[in-house]
Each structure stands twice: as C-alpha cells, then as structure tokens.
Symmetry: C2
C-alpha cells in the first residue's frame, strides 16, 4: 500500500478529464489548490520512545525504521490522509512488533501489560475511524502489533467452515480458499488491503452482504488473546449457553485483546456472477423496491441504490467509458424518464440458483417501476468496485475533500435519517459541495445509508473543515436515533458518540469487560470507549 | 397450566393402549410403578420468610398463597415434575411480586438490591434447566418476579418489527400480531405457556427456526432493567458500534436484570402452510440431505429428521390414528425399504414462494434417496407439535421417566456427538431404556441434536436416576466439544458446564458484566454461572 494513500502504488484511478473539470468547477476548486504528498523522508513525527527489552524479546521481531512507523501511524480516513500527505504526524507508534504466531502475541501483550506499554493491533491499516491512532493513554509508550505473519488457513470441507489467521488480507484469504474451491464472499471496498482480524474487530460488511452476510454473520468461532488470558468460543453452529461471547469479541476493535483466530462459514466458489444495472424513478421508489425484496427474503446478493446526486456524479465520473452516458440518456428519455436513481444488483452462486433468484428479483424491480440498464452498468460497477479509495487519492491531489460515512435505521425512519444527515452535511460544507448517498446492506427491518461528500479543501484548514462536517453528521445521526456506524466501526472518531449509542449502562457493561480482560488498560487506548 | 405438570388441565395426550402396553413392556414398567400427583394442599415447602415492606410497596401487587408460591417454585424439567408431583419442594419463593409495568419492575429490583432480596424473574414457568429455582444465594429471602402484566404490543408495519412486552405468552403475542396481519413465526414446543421475555432470556428456538430464525435472530432491540439502571439497544437493523450488547442481554437468563421490552422482526401471516413427511434410508442419509439443503440455503421452514429409534417409537405411539402405520409399512416395503428415518418438512408463506421452495426442497429429498410419505404424516406432526409435554405427564403417571436434552455441533463432528451422547445415555439408563434423537435447527455449518429418553422410573430413586443420565450426557457433550445447550439455556442444571463451554476467561467476562450491572448479586443467583 502507498504509505500516504491507498493501495497499489502502480495503480491509479483514471478519470475522464472533462469529468474532472466539471467537478472542480462545481466545487470551486482552483488550480493552486492542487498538492502532492511530501516525500517519506520529510515526514515529521514524535521521536520513538524506548520500548522495554522484555517486550521486544517477547515479540521476536521488531521493526523501527521511519517507514515502518509511518505506515502504522494512521489509518485511511480523510484526516489520516491529510496528515500523511502533509508529513505532519502528531503521533506514531514507538515501535512495530511483528510476532510470528499466536503464542508470540500472547507473550507480547503479557510483557506490555507488565511493562505498561500501550498496544495498537494492526491488520491492514485501513481504519477510517481513527482505530489505529497511536494513543499512549496512561502508559509510557505505545507499540503497533502487526499481525501480518498470522496467516493460517484450515478448511473443514464438510461443515464449510475455515479457520483463518487474523493477518490474512482479503486477497490472501480468497486465494487460499479459492484453491480449495470455496469463498468467504466478503468483499468490502477495503478488500485489497484489509485483513480477517480487522474484518472481525470492526464488524465489516462487504458489497455482497445481502447474499453472503456481513462478516460478523460469517464468524462461527473466535479466539481472543487478552492480557488476562486466551478465550476461544466453541466451533459450533449455535448455542443458547448464555450471552454470546463471540458477539463481545466481534467489534471489540482491539480494546479487549488481539483476535488471533477466526472461524468463518465459507461457500462453494460461485459458478456464475451476474451484475446488472437498473434505474429507479427516484430514491423513494428505489427504497421501496429494496424494502419489498428484503421483506420477502428475495434479495439479490449485491444490491445498492444510489440517490439522485450519486447517480448523477457516478455517471459523470464514469464518462463515456463507463455507463455510456449518452446512450443511457437517450434510452431513458425514450422511456420518458430523466434522472432517476441507479440500482446495482448482483447474483452469485450455482447457475440454476442465479437464474431462479435473478428472475424473481427482476420481476420485483419491474413491478417497482425500475427500468433495466443491462449488464454493461453492472460490469462498470464491478470494474470500479474497489476504486473508490484510489479515486480519493486523485481528488485529494486536485484539492478536493472526499470523505464517506455510514449509518443505518429501520425502514420507517430511513427517510428521516437520510434527510437529516444530508442536510447536516450540506449545512456544514456550504453551497459548493456535493453530498450523495447510497442505500446498501438491506435487511427486512431496515438498511444502511452510505454518504459520500466532496467540497473544496481549503489549504491548511482541511482538518477543521472535516471536523465540522463529521460533527454535524454525527449529531444528526444521534438526534435521529440511527446508529453512529453500520460497518466502519467506532475507533477514536465515533467514541464520543458511544454513550448516545449504548447508554450509560451499556458503557458500564463494556467497561466492565474491558477492565476484567485488560486490567492494565493497555489495549488500544482511546478507541471504542471515550478515554 | 397444571400446577404439577404441563399445560391446559382439561387437555390430555391420548395414547393408543396397545402402544402404551408395548412401551411399558419394553421398559419393564410395572403396574405398581403408576403414581399420581399429590393434592395441592399436601405440598410441603419451606415457610415463607418475610419480604421487606419496601419491596412489596415497590412491586405494587404481592401474591402469597400456597398455590402462588408452588406455581413459581419450579420449572418443567423432569426433576421439577418429580418434586412437584411428590409434593416435596426443597425451595420456593418467599413471595410472588407482580409489578404492573416496567417502572414498577425497576422500582422493585432497586428495592430488592437495597434490602438484599434475591429475585427470580418469572415468565411462563417453562424452564427445563432449573432456571426458576428459588435460590437465595447470599441473601435473606428470595422473590419470584412475575412479569405477566407486561403485555404491550406495538407494531411498526413499515419496518415489520414489533415491540413486545416480556409477559406475553406465545399465543397472546400471536393473537395480537395476527390481528395486525403478521406473525413472529416462533413456535417452540413450549409455545402455549412460554413468554416473549423467556424466549429472549434463554435464546429459544422454534420448530420453524430454519425459516423464521431462532428467537435471538428475531430480536432487533432489547431493554434490560438491571439493578444499576436501564439499558436499551437502539431500534436499528444492525450496527458496527462495538460488541453487541443485544447479544449480551439475550441469553442472560435473568442474571443481569429483567428484560422489560423486546423488539422483534415479524413477517406477514403466511397464506399457506404445508407440512409433509418423508422417509430417509437411515439417519446418516437423512443428515446428508439436510446438510445439502442447509449449505445450498434452500432449507424448508420446518425440517426435522428422527433417527431410527425415534421413528420407530413415533410410529408406535402415533398408532393407527396417526401415520397409519400399516399403510405406511406396506408402502415402504413395496419400495423395498424397511425402517428408515422420518423427515418432517414444512413450508410457510406466500403461495408462490411456498410452491417454489417446496419444489426445490422435494427435489433435494428425492436426490438424497428419501421417499415421500405425503401430507398425512405432516398433518400428524402438526397435530402433535405441542403434545410432547402433555405426553410426558401421561407417561409419568405410568411410572416412566421421560426427559429431553439438546446440543449442537458442526456437520463434521455431528455423528461423533450423536454416538457419544446416545452411548452415554444408554450406559447410564441401562438396557431397558429407549434413547432416541432428532436433528433439527440446521445451519450451513452444523445442526442441533435433540435427545429424548425413556426408562422405568424407580420409585423414590427418580432424581438419582435422572442425575446419572444427565451427568453422563453432559460429560459426553463436553468431551466432544459440542455445546451444552442449543436452545434450552443454562439455568442451574448446566451451570457447572459453563467453564467448559466458555473457558476461564469467558467466565471472567460474564462475571464482570454481572457484577457491574448487579453489584448486590440479587438477580437469579446460581443460574448461568456456577455459584
């Protein structure tokens, strides 16, 4: 991954220049707003404090170069990227520890607890909520615990479950499982870089979550290596033996310990994958189609609905290479419809199952008044499904602020949430901004909303601009009683909203577990719960 | 409910006398083994200790008659029934409190915490794991907190969720929801008596769990009134905001506080319900058919597979009124198959959906070599679906010990678990016993096994006999790394096995939450966690 941005350094998102010009014009971005990341050698950060020898010995491998530290100093939120690109890091881990196995992990955190060293577990480094911030808390120093060497893959082909090491990235896991004829089916936008441990620790949701389930749905058993000891839930399909400890470890974001082993349901690799586009009359009509599909339990495996603004911007950015805008416009106007909202549907699996379920889904879409755009729109989405973060790097080069955030609510309050967050963001960002949204991860009782916003990044003021927008959106979410996060997790950015999310007694319950499993308070300080 | 047994006092399970004779003969049950429950007035139990006036005032309504106390002194496990029928109760609540609403519940448990009174929450009284035992713990007295007045029903017809009071019984909830055109679809064998709060507190699973989901799947939000305060999770379809507190309250069995409000997903009341019988060649073939259906995600809504022994006994007990045994035997022998394992399948929902899914399921059953028995077998199952506990009362009258227990494992270890538990039970019960099993609640990665066993109850030794069998089965489950309970919960009977289930650190985590939310330790002492 680029140390200052997203993904493969040799890959760039390609944008039609006309689209870029239109976007800059719309946002009032000036040529002088353009910027480039500093050179790695120019990055300034606090000097590394010494890490106790006992900790280094326990870990086995210690990385201490500037690059090692910079790479683990931040996640990939907009403010993370602003800090990285500017070369001004307020904090960084004092050292990076890379234990070879779960035994080394246990020894390392035991030594850290003994010596008073804070520990930030590190998977793929893709947190967008400040989950990787090198917070020392009450301790003397802080280390990044890199789990990339824990990459076991062990398939149970009869039960269709696989034990996976937390350090496997999405592609590593899929490659190993693919060779055994199965797939996890977990494809979030962060797929290329994020890891199994991170998926579990943050309750990640993939683009095909309607079909395969969110990551927390896939997990059947989990092992937590906490300062107080190791806990592993049984490898069983379900139990009524008390509160679900698996569900306590899921979403714990490194604050209780390190996730050292994850058992997941897998599925036979699909014979067939079909993605296609549809155009709904408007966001409300599209939403009702999805609600109908979800409540009939006939959801496609992939389903997302862009609002009018996201549809417009997607078509512009895709240019003639993508959705063939001109052809599309002609087609839609022939059908006496303009604008509308883009729906992407996908079905994966055995040929018969895909055919059957697709035909059901298409009938519902048609009944809901949506117009088919065919497979070209689907292929375009598929090509671009992991491109968002690459595109962000390009836009940041130009001087555009790009950020995303997500929430969820029941169907009966989803429109209220949509309006409240959109209005809060537009209010904070000002007139020359774009606030767009898609609905994805639909359930029988509700759905998530995923907002993306663009505005001109005012040089030197980007962090303040971001903070204002983020705060406005979070306050709108809390006021509407939506969730502060559907799948990005809490980290440091959402921690102040946790009391609103779970209430005072909820905070007490979470704190009680934390204090019992991590009495020294070394595990990922300042994340999940407010310090 | 009968104070000494199950259900409507005017209803009796009818058994063909030939079947009863055959069963008694097989088990060696003698005419002098027959017994009847004592009269209510003859029941002896410890005298009621005084309950502090502040507690009674907080609750509002206090019930203190012999019958009130006897009715809340035990659940409906075999040892509970032995004690009730013999009229010898070791323990009973000192008083029964019946608060009118959630505010009264909060005030009552606050007063109990202040005064040092243990609280046993009481829903339908159907625990089969000692969940209602009036354990005083370290306190002076113990009260039963009857939640039957909390019966709110509030439907969100757009989101298809309903807020339900914990005191609603299954039929009360279904009647109210049915009038609004929806159903929970939660039909455990205890349906007639058990309550919404109990379903949530014990992670109940219904007979149609493959279609509608287990009860814990249905719950979208939950409110816990704990001694330290009230906690309510948000009404949202999903969140990534940390460990799932909803999943901490689910399965908490009254040990953290009282569940005072439950939001559940509901579904449109089905247009059509079809149940039918099939005969699989043997248990292993039947199991593979179900695994195939579960892993293709094409499960019927109801699916259970009896092993050879359960099939034989079911056909015997059903007699000519039920499955038309003679016709069935002729039919099967025509197809050159004898014995075999009974499969019950059911589909519910819209007509089209039922037709489509049934045709898929039937194709899989046929491919797996199962033989259709038609809808008569399905209707027979439907008629008898809530009869098990009535039947138990009849058999106990005759002097037969009848008990059930359940567990679950992954598909790859299910056969090992099946053999281990069956062999442990047969070993403990001796030769003249019947140990039979069905597989139900199937998942992509595994399934539950539900054992029923009969033997001659030796007068005066029933509790020892039961203890030996239960212990042998639990030890076999633990040795095989299955779960100690798939849907009956932990209560007092399984509490000793919780360390094996969740490990030492798991116990620590559960204890930490318990101590924080219930620092005086008044909530349902001795349940879930060993005292």
């Amino acid at each position: 991954m680029k140390w200052w941005g997203w993904g493969d350094p040799h890959h760039r998102a390609e944008l039609p220049s006309a689209a870029v010009d239109a976007l800059r014009d719309e946002l009032g971005v000036r040529p002088e707003d353009a910027s480039e990341p500093v050179e790695l050698a120019q990055v300034s950060m606090p000097d590394a404090r010494p890490v106790p020898a006992a900790v280094e010995e326990a870990a086995g491998e210690v990385l201490g170069s500037l690059e090692d530290r910079v790479r683990r100093a931040a996640g990939r939120s907009y403010p993370d990227l602003v800090r990285l690109r500017s070369g001004k890091l307020d904090s960084a881990p004092d050292a990076v520890l890379r234990p070879a196995d779960a035994g080394r992990v246990a020894a390392t955190i035991a030594a850290c607890a003994e010596e008073g060293v804070a520990v930030v577990p590190y998977g793929g480094g893709t947190s967008v909520v400040g989950g990787l911030d090198a917070v020392t808390g009450e301790h003397e120093s802080v280390v990044s615990l890199d789990l990339s060497l824990l990459r076991k893959v062990d398939l149970d082909p009869v039960s269709l479950t696989a034990r996976l090491g937390p350090g496997l990235t999405g592609p590593q896991a899929e490659e190993a499982l693919g060779a055994l004829g199965v797939t996890l089916g977990h494809f979030p936008q962060s797929f290329e870089e994020a890891t199994i441990g991170g998926f579990a620790a943050t309750r990640s949701a993939g683009q095909a979550s309607s079909g395969y389930g969110r990551f927390d749905d896939l997990v059947t058993a989990i092992e937590l290596t906490a300062p107080e000891g190791r806990m592993r839930t049984l490898d069983i399909p379900h139990t009524a033996a008390g509160p679900a400890l698996r569900e306590v470890v899921l979403g714990s974001e490194g604050t209780l310990g390190v996730i050292t082993d994850v058992s997941c349901r897998v599925r036979p690799a699909p014979e067939l994958r079909i993605y296609e586009g549809w155009m709904a009359a408007d966001f409300a009509h599209g939403r009702e189609i999805i609600r109908d599909l979800a409540q009939r339990h006939e959801m496609p495996d992939v389903l997302r609905l862009s609002d009018e603004e996201e549809t417009r911007v997607s078509l512009e950015l895709a240019g003639t290479e993508g959705l063939a805008k001109r052809a599309l416009e002609t087609y839609l106007s022939l059908r006496r419809r303009r604008g509308g909202c883009l729906v992407i549907c996908g079905w994966e699996g055995e040929r018969d199952s895909v055919r059957r379920r697709r035909s059901l889904g298409q009938a519902h879409l048609q009944r809901g008044g949506a117009v088919p755009l065919g497979s070209r729109a689907g292929r375009s989405w598929e090509r671009g499904r992991y491109q968002g973060p690459y595109l962000r790097d390009e836009l940041m080069d130009l001087g555009v602020m790009v950020e995303t955030l997500e929430t969820a609510h029941t169907w009966s309050r989803l429109d209220e949430l949509y309006r409240a967050v959109g209005s809060a963001l537009r209010g904070a960002l000002g007139e020359r901004s774009i606030v767009m949204c898609h609905l994805s991860h639909a359930y029988a009782d509700g759905a998530s909303l995923y907002f993306t916003f663009f505005t001109r990044a005012r040089p030197g003021e980007q962090l303040d601009q971001w903070r204002a927008a983020k705060t406005a959106a979070c306050e709108a979410i809390v006021a509407t009683r939506g969730t502060i996060t559907h799948h990005h997790a809490v980290g440091r950015d959402h921690a102040p909203y946790m009391p609103a999310e779970v209430g005072e007694i909820g905070i007490e319950a979470l704190t009680a577990v934390k204090e019992r499993l991590d009495p020294a308070g070394i595990m990922n300080p300042g994340k999940l719960l407010p310090l």
